[in-house]
Structure formats: structure tokens, C-alpha cells
């Protein structure tokens, strides 16, 4: 499976994501520069974490206008697989490829730490190698990860089982304490209705090697590359 990692000005998890896809998951991986045109035949576009355009204005707000993103939108419309991690998730929200918006973390501080997330939907392109209810230990690192959507939208998301991950305790319980950033419905990862676009705030690429203290994030990459 051929991956393309998009670089926006200000992306900073681009190398990390590229490294995992290429050297850990061992898939052909190329760079996609935000100003270029053409997705060069990739099967999956990954929008990495970071601070595209400094996250000035709002996280992801300016990056969504990058020339390449119009093509990523068309790619997604045709069923192409798109994964947004952290800032990438924020870009997908701003672009409207995923519903809702991000607010500042509830404690108004940047949060960098390991969290545990519960896999809610295992019948997806991004998680079919995992089990429902499985708890993953993965780091977060963001300022704006407090997921928000109006009630009607939330209802729809839940009805369509679009929530892929929720912040939970290590035992899978959903508590206010575990919901570190204050997200509605403890949402940590979300896909579109069609199931080909997913965004998540935690960083699976930071949890894909034993040395880094967790390999739980690999299940996402391994799901993407295997037959669904």
C-alpha cells in the first residue's frame, strides 16, 4: 500500500509518521508537498501532526486552503483513504471532511502525556485488526483537542457509529478524569459516514515501537494496510 505524508508549513510530526510507515510498517511512503498538485498514485493520504501555519487563527484553519487539500478532498470523495493525526484531524474538521470542531483543552493548557483510549468500532478500515473494547495506550500532545459538535451532529455521529475511539480509563471505563481534554462524548477519534476518512487526536506514530514505551498505535497502521 502506498502512503503519502503531507507536509504543510509548520507540520512537525511529518518525519515521525514517515519513519513509522516506511521503517516500522514497511510500506512504500512518499512526501506530498502542500503546494504541489497530484497525489502521485498514493492509496492513503496521511495528514501528520504539528502546527500548520503556526495554528494561528485556529488549528488547521489555514492549512485547509492549501492547494493540495482540494485534491485530498476530491480523493476522499472518491473513497480514497485519509488519516488525520492530531493537527491533521483538525485540518479535516476545518475542511469539513469530518463533522465538528475543536476547542481549547478544558484546563486551557497544552497536554502532552500518555492516555488510554477505547476502541469503539472495530468494523472500520482503520481498526479491523483490533477488537471492540480494546484499550490502547497512546500519547497525546495538543492544545486544541476538546471535541465539539452541536447536538444534532453528535446524535448523527453516534447513530452511524462514527466514533472510533474514546478517551477511557485503563480498564475501559469512561470517566471525566480520563477525558483529559473535555471532549464531548469523550471522542478521541472519529470517521466520516462513509468510513474512508478518520481523524484522531492521539499519536499512533508515537506508539509504534517498543523503545518508545508502547506499540499499541500500530493496530491502526496495520489495519489500513491489510484487506478490509
Amino acid at each position: 500500500m502506498k502512503f503519502g505524508v503531507v507536509i504543510f508549513p509548520g507540520s512537525n510530526c511529518d518525519f515521525d509518521t514517515f519513519h513509522v510507515l516506511k521503517n516500522v510498517i514497511r510500506q512504500p511512503t512518499i512526501w506530498l508537498w502542500h503546494k504541489d498538485h497530484g497525489l502521485q498514485g498514493v492509496d492513503c493520504v496521511v495528514l501528520p501532526g504539528g502546527f500548520a501555519y503556526g495554528d494561528y487563527l485556529r488549528s488547521g484553519a489555514i492549512a485547509r486552503f492549501s492547494p493540495l487539500m482540494q485534491e485530498v478532498g476530491e480523493f476522499a470523495d472518491k473513497g480514497g483513504v485519509v488519516l488525520g493525526i492530531c493537527n491533521g484531524f483538525q485540518v479535516l474538521l476545518e475542511l469539513g471532511l469530518l463533522p465538528g470542531a475543536m476547542l481549547r483543552n478544558k484546563n486551557l493548557k497544552f497536554l502532552c502525556q500518555f492516555v488510554t483510549i477505547r476502541l469503539e468500532n472495530e468494523r472500520t478500515r482503520f481498526t479491523h485488526k483490533g477488537k471492540k473494547g480494546q484499550v490502547l495506550r497512546v500519547p497525546i500532545a495538543h492544545f486544541d483537542g476538546n471535541y465539539f459538535a452541536p447536538p444534532e451532529t453528535l446524535k448523527e455521529i453516534e447513530e452511524n457509529s462514527q466514533v472510533v475511539f474514546r478517551y477511557s480509563g485503563a480498564n475501559g471505563s469512561l470517566t471525566e478524569e480520563a477525558n483529559v481534554n473535555g471532549s464531548l462524548h469523550s471522542i478521541a477519534g472519529l470517521m466520516n459516514k462513509r468510513g474512508n476518512v478518520m481523524g484522531l487526536m492521539p499519536h499512533p506514530e508515537r506508539a509504534s515501537e517498543r523503545l518508545l514505551g508502547s506499540e499499541d498505535g500500530r493496530v491502526i497502521f496495520e489495519s489500513i494496510i491489510s484487506k478490509f
Binding site: P9, G10, N12, F51, G54, D55, K109, F110, C112, A141
Partner: protein
């Protein structure tokens, strides 16, 4: 005509002015005076410190670049080098905590990538007044958010640092920032302006009227006097810096440039004079071509602005187009503003006139060096009569109080705000003795730590200097790393006061002595004087940044207890020392006595033992004893275990129990080993002549410490953890 008032405003003495006139053979104009004022400021010229810094050991087989460049460089083998440096940003961080600390991070990052290295780690050493004061809280809150905003955005992990609290920092908080980068040995870049006719390019943000006189400000005491001179603090733009970083590394990687230097303190003046001075050339620049943010800027302002996120590049004429293309790719302009000339002059044009025409060597190399008078000041305070101090009853309570002291408490509130994992190299996260970073595609790893106990330095400056080095190295030994290079930031009061100069002299002597003993080279550092407000000076505060190398990443040792039943071994000797301890301060409100003694030969032996035991695979965990002594050390090992495991320790010494449990005697490390390896560990200690005592076992939910069977401490780890964990955040929670 330059009069006395001009000189006062520029912080130059009559004699210095006389020298300027002699060096340039005429009276300088006001712009030229500004140039000299900035470059001859304490901050840029090190005129009060240079004489003493000369004694620091700077040589070593692995040294590629010692002091004198933007950062020091150490060879780590396999064609790779590390580039690292520490800088202070104390004054701006007090005036505007958020922007002050943020731009401090921006500045040190530029020092590293200007040498061709990709920054891989930031660390910060912070000193604040007590958190009971709202002002101190807001300074700390702002400083931490500022560091977080800049480092996180640019994508360099902030992997460690230290934080101490003391009254002496209420009006002079300290913010020292360290950065390390990694580069290929044959792709290092220097601040060179070689090749007559080569072009000078300006890249990055436009120049505004910010921070004019920043260097001068950092070279004066705070007080009403300076209030009106306070410049605008610069606002940092981490996004711009990220673009600058990527673009600069790209032009370097493609071999398109000759030399490069960041514009930090003293801005364009500094870079455009230092580069030719180092290369024995001159420079000609036209200020009309400098991108400007504001209208009507004078040459004086353009030359001395400290606007952030700017670099000066020297490139061959035929490469200019390619250089510009790379910068354009990153949405940055590279503007030609001048060229390298023969003859050693700095010649600056503005609106068709020459406004500065002076020899670069006069500005850069010929600033007077002062051997300022020092008083055998800061004599170690008298030995306290230890028998005067009553031995408290309730050791559990003391332990609770100690872990709740913000200096000892969990710093997670701070480092949780820093992205410490980006770049996916951090294998030992902040919190441990030293942070450990892997080097991708290799078996090696790097360990880094910052250290400096200023109370020790206040009580005995020389000991303070020695202990700071020893403890930093000990922290490295605890994770299994051997020190390879040192940088240091020396924060002091007003050097024109003989007592302060006395402190400085002794601290530097202490650092030199310790570095020589450890055979580690000092590759650079920074001096911050005038940390003094209304005549009250900070404690002398040396901050040591030491980098260590780990040959086999699989041999890294971590501080947390691992398994129930593991043997606990104390490496090193116990003594009866309480002077300068956190225990005396917290329990008795005393900051006096003689700080713990240190014998560098013994210290080295203990560290060597720890390192060899780690390499031999004997150790399950290691953590050194520092503030709060054995009890705090053992408690922390329990916290870091992840499972909050306790331990049961029994001591067998003749000393006072409070000294044994809370004293800060140096050269001690608490390690654990599988019982099957205990014998080998003790045998190794015997062979090395290091005292090592098996004092108990890991296990249970409590921290239990007894003396000859009599219980002293007996308290659930969970309870101690709670105090330790909440001590800092509770100052910042608004309901």
C-alpha cells in the same frame, strides 16, 4: 558630539570611550556609539567574566568546537556530532513572562541550527520566587506557557530541565534554555564571511523597532532608573522560525552557502561584525535594502533592533538564485543587503551616506577585558551547631512536607505542557534523572541533564560549582550514560560589586576543578550578570548542562523500582550533613550551614561503579540522592515504578537519624538489583573500593525506613505520592 549623557545612556565608561576613539582614530557618531555600546555590553563581550572563564578546561579528544562559536560541538562517533548550548533569558522573562521565555527558546534554537544541526532536544532551567505570591505564580505560568508555545510549535521536544524556588528569585526569576542538535561531522557550518565579493543575504522576519538595547539592558541592574529605558519585549513567531529552520537546513544540506549566523543579541550589528571578524575580512551593507516592518527607521534602530527570527547568510554570487529558491519554497524572502570586502572594515550605508565605518576587530575583539576587584565575599556561613537542632519526632510528617516543597515536588504540571515526545526519540521521558534520546539507525543514545543548586552556591560558591557538575554527571550515570561535554549558564548579581565577583570567581573555579576531575570539556556557555533588583541580588546560580553518551540503548537504566523482592543497595557513604539541606529549610526555615562536602575521587568512583554495573546488566533501577535525601529518593523510586511499589529499608549507621533519612550527603546512588545479581554487584563495589550496602528490599505499598530495626518512616506510597503530585498544580487551579 558625544557627551557624558550619551555615554551614560549607552552604558559606556569614559575610559571605554577613550579606547573607542583611539581604535577608530576619531570620535564615533551616534550610530557607531550604539554599535560599540551593544557589542561591548557585558552580555555580548563577556568583559567581566572572560578573565575567569579562561580557566575552564576546554580541550578533549572529542571536541570539534569549543567556546567561541554559536554553540559547542562534540564528536559522538560514526560521523555524527552533537551541537549544544545554553542561554539565559532572565530579564525579558520577568517583564513579559510569556514572550520573554518564548523568544529565549527561539534564540537558542537558532544558535543550534545556524551550525547546520537539526535541533533534537530542548531543556529549561527555571528559578522562581515562592508560589504563595500571585505575582510569582503568574510569572511561572507565563514562562512555562511561553516555552511550551514556542518549543511545541516548532516541533523540538522539551525533554527536561529543573525548577527551584527561593525568595531570592521573586524579583529576578531565571529562565535558562538549553538546546541540543545533531549534525553530520562534515556538514557543520560556521559564522564565516569568507571570500571577497561574496554576497550577504538577510533572511527571515522584517526588522522592527523591537528590543533595541536588549543587550545593554541585560547588562544593567533593574531599578527605577532603567524602567524608562525598557524596550519593547519582542514577540516570538515560532511558525516563522520553523520555516527558517527548514529552509536554512536545506540550503546547508545542498551546500549552497559559505557561512551563516543568527541575529540574536545586538541583532544585525552582531552578526555583520562577528562574521567578517572571524574570517579576517570586512563587510559592506546597505540598510536601505534591509526588510523593515516600520516606516522611518533610523540606521541606529535598524542596526540594533533585536527583532526575532532573522539570519544573516554569506553565499557565493553564483549560488544566490538557488538560495533564494529554497527560501521561496518555504515562503521566505532572502534579500541581498551587501557583500564581503577586503580590509576589515564594517561599512554601512543608508540613504546614500556611510553611517558606520569602523574596523570589525575593534567591535568584536578589542573590547577591554576586566579583572574586576573581588572580595573574598560570600565566605561559607559558620558551621551550624547540629546539636542545637532538635530531632523531630514524626518523620512521616517531614517526608510529607518535603515532597510538598515545590522544589522537590512533581514537575509534571510543567513538562506536561511541553511536547516532550515529538521526533519520537525520547525513550526516557522527563521526570527521570536525565532524559534519554535514541539516535535513529544506531544502537547509541544521548542523555541530557541540567543541574544547579543555588543554595549550596550561596553558602559556599566553590562547593556549589563543584556539586553542580558532580550531580549532573551523577544523574547521567544513573541512566547509564558517560558525560561527553559540558555547557553552563552562570547567573549572578552585579559584577561591579566585589562580593558578587568573589562568588563568580569561586563558582567558576569549582566548575573547573570538577570538570577537570571528570575529564570533560566545557564547550561553551553563557553568563548572565546583573540579576539584581533594587540592590538585592540572586543567589549565585550556576546551571550546568551536561550531555552523556550511552553506547548500548538496551542498557539504559531507569529510576523506578521494578519488582517486589529486588534488593535495594545504597552506593556511597552516609555522613552527618545537614547544612543547606531542603530539610533544614522546610522544617526549620533555615538556609545556613555548610553544604555537603564532596570528594571528587570518591564521587567518580561511585559513578564509575554505577556505570559498570549498568553495563554489566546488574541494575534494575538507579536514582541518585539529592534534595530531601534518602527518604525522598526512595519515595520517588516508588512513584516512578508505575505501580507505586514501596520498599523496606533498614540502616545501620551511627549518625543522627534525621541526617541519615533527609540529609543531602553527596556521592550516593540508590540502586536495585535482582537478588541473584546482588552478590556480583557488591563484589564489583568491593573491587572498586566503593562503600555499598544492601539495605533492604523493594515491596509492599509503604515506604518503610528504619535505623537498626527502629522504625523511622512508615507511610503508604500512595499518600506521599498525592502530596508530591499535587504540590505544584494546586497553586494554579482556579475553581
Amino acid at each position: 558630539m558625544i557627551d557624558q549623557k550619551n555615554l551614560d545612556n549607552h552604558n559606556l565608561t569614559r575610559d571605554e570611550y577613550g579606547l573607542i576613539v583611539k581604535l577608530i582614530g576619531r570620535e564615533p557618531n551616534l550610530t557607531e556609539l550604539g554599535v560599540f555600546s551593544a557589542m561591548w555590553s557585558e552580555h555580548c563581550s563577556y568583559k567581566s567574566s572572560k578573565f575567569y572563564l579562561k580557566q575552564l578546561p576546554i580541550k578533549g579528544k572529542n571536541v570539534v568546537q569549543g567556546p567561541g562559536e554559536n554553540a559547542g560541538i562534540i564528536d559522538i562517533g560514526d560521523g555524527q556530532v552533537i551541537v549544544f548550548k545554553i542561554e539565559s533569558h532572565n530579564h525579558p522573562s520577568f517583564i513579559e513572562p510569556f514572550q520573554g521565555s518564548a523568544t529565549g527558546v527561539g534564540g537558542i534554537l537558532r544558535d543550534i541550527f545556524t551550525m547546520g544541526a537539526r535541533p533534537i532536544a530542548l531543556l529549561d532551567s527555571l528559578r522562581f520566587g515562592p508560589l504563595a505570591s500571585p505575582k510569582n505564580r503568574s510569572v511561572m505560568d507565563g514562562v512555562v506557557s511561553g516555552i511550551s508555545s514556542y518549543g511545541n510549535s516548532i516541533g523540538v521536544p522539551t525533554v527536561g530541565g529543573d525548577v527551584y524556588f527561593n525568595d531570592c528569585y521573586s524579583l529576578n526569576p531565571l529562565v535558562n534554555v538549553f538546546c541540543m542538535g545533531i549534525a553530520e561531522k562534515d556538514k557543520i557550518f560556521y559564522a564565516k564571511a569568507e571570500g571577497i565579493g561574496n554576497r550577504v543575504l538577510y533572511v527571515g522576519s522584517k526588522t522592527g523597532r523591537d528590543g533595541i538595547h536588549g543587550a545593554t539592558m541585560a547588562s544593567q541592574e533593574f531599578g527605577e532608573e532603567i524602567e524608562h529605558k525598557r524596550p519593547n519585549v519582542q514577540v516570538g513567531d515560532p511558525f516563522k522560525e520553523k520555516l527558517l529552520l527548514e529552509a536554512c537546513l536545506e540550503v546547508m544540506d545542498k551546500g549552497l552557502i559559505v557561512g551563516i549566523q543568527d541575529m540574536g543579541a545586538a541583532g544585525l550589528t552582531c552578526s555583520s561584525s562577528e562574521m567578517p571578524a572571524k574570517s579576517g575580512t570586512g563587510i559592506e551593507i546597505n540598510l536601505d535594502l534591509v526588510p523593515q516592518r516600520e516606516e522611518g527607521m533610523t540606521p541606529y534602530e535598524i542596526l540594533l533592533s533585536e527583532s526575532q527570527e532573522r539570519m544573516l547568510i554569506v553565499a557565493k554570487p553564483e549560488k544566490i538564485k538557488e538560495v533564494k529558491d529554497v527560501f521561496a519554497k518555504w515562503d521566505l524572502d532572502a534579500v541581498e543587503i551587501g557583500k564581503v570586502i577586503e580590509g576589515g572594515q564594517m561599512r554601512v550605508g543608508f540613504h546614500g551616506e556611510i553611517v558606520v565605518d569602523i574596523p570589525v576587530s575593534a567591535i568584536v575583539d578589542l573590547c577591554p577585558i576586566y579583572e574586576r576587584p573581588y572580595a573574598a565575599a560570600a565566605q561559607p556561613k559558620k558551621e551550624i551547631n547540629i546539636r542545637e537542632i532538635p530531632i523531630p519526632e514524626d518523620f512521616n510528617k517531614i517526608l510529607m512536607n518535603l515532597v510538598a516543597s515545590p522544589t522537590i515536588a512533581n514537575k509534571e504540571w510543567v513538562f506536561r505542557q511541553y511536547d516532550h515526545m515529538v521526533q519520537t526519540n525520547t525513550i526516557l521521558l522527563p521526570g527521570a534523572d536525565a532524559s534519554v534520546l535514541r539516535i535513529k539507525d544506531s544502537k547509541k543514545a544521548l542523555a541530557v541533564t541540567l543541574d544547579g543548586n543555588s543554595l549550596y552556591a550561596h553558602l559556599n560558591p566553590r562547593a556549589g560549582g563543584i556539586i553542580a557538575v558532580a550531580e549532573a554527571c551523577r544523574n547521567l550515570a544513573c541512566v547509564g550514560a558517560r558525560p561527553v561535554g559540558v555547557t553552563n549558564c552562570l547567573n549572578f548579581g552585579n559584577p561591579e560589586k566585589p562580593e558578587v565577583m568573589g562568588q563568580f570567581k569561586e563558582v567558576v573555579e569549582g566548575i573547573s576543578e570538577a570538570c577537570k576531575a571528570f575529564e570533560i570539556p566545557v564547550t561553551g556557555g553563557n553568563v548572565s550578570f546583573y540579576n539584581e533588583t533594587e540592590g538585592v541580588s540572586i543567589y549565585p546560580t550556576p546551571v550546568l548542562g551536561i550531555v552523556g553518551l550511552i553506547k548500548d540503548i538496551n542498557k539504559v537504566v531507569t529510576p523506578g523500582f521494578k519488582e517486589e523482592g529486588d534488593a535495594v543497595v545504597l552506593l556511597g557513604e552516609n555522613k552527618e550533613e545537614l547544612g543547606g539541606s531542603e530539610y533544614l529549610k522546610i522544617q526549620f526555615g533555615r538556609e545556613d550551614g555548610i553544604p555537603p562536602a564532596i570528594d571528587l575521587a570518591k564521587e567518580k568512583a561511585v559513578q564509575e561503579l554505577c556505570l559498570e554495573a549498568a553495563e554489566a546488566g546488574f541494575l534494575e533501577s538507579a536514582h541518585d540522592l539529592s534534595e530531601g535525601g534518602l527518604a525522598v529518593c526512595a519515595a520517588e523510586c516508588g512513584f516512578f515504578s508505575g505501580k507505586k511499589i514501596g520498599c523496606e529499608l533498614d540502616l545501620n549507621d551511627e549518625w543522627r537519624p534525621d541526617a541519615l533519612v533527609f540529609g543531602e550527603t553527596q556521592s550516593r546512588i540508590l540502586v536495585t538489583a535482582k537478588s541473584s545479581k546482588l552478590k556480583k554487584l557488591l563484589a564489583l563495589a568491593g573491587k572498586k573500593g566503593v562503600t555499598a550496602a544492601a539495605i533492604g528490599k523493594v515491596g509492599g505499598k509503604k515506604i518503610r525506613i528504619s535505623l537498626k530495626g527502629k522504625a523511622l518512616v512508615n507511610v503508604p506510597v500512595e499518600e506521599v505520592y498525592k502530596e508530591w503530585n499535587e504540590a505544584i498544580p494546586r497553586n494554579f487551579t482556579v475553581k
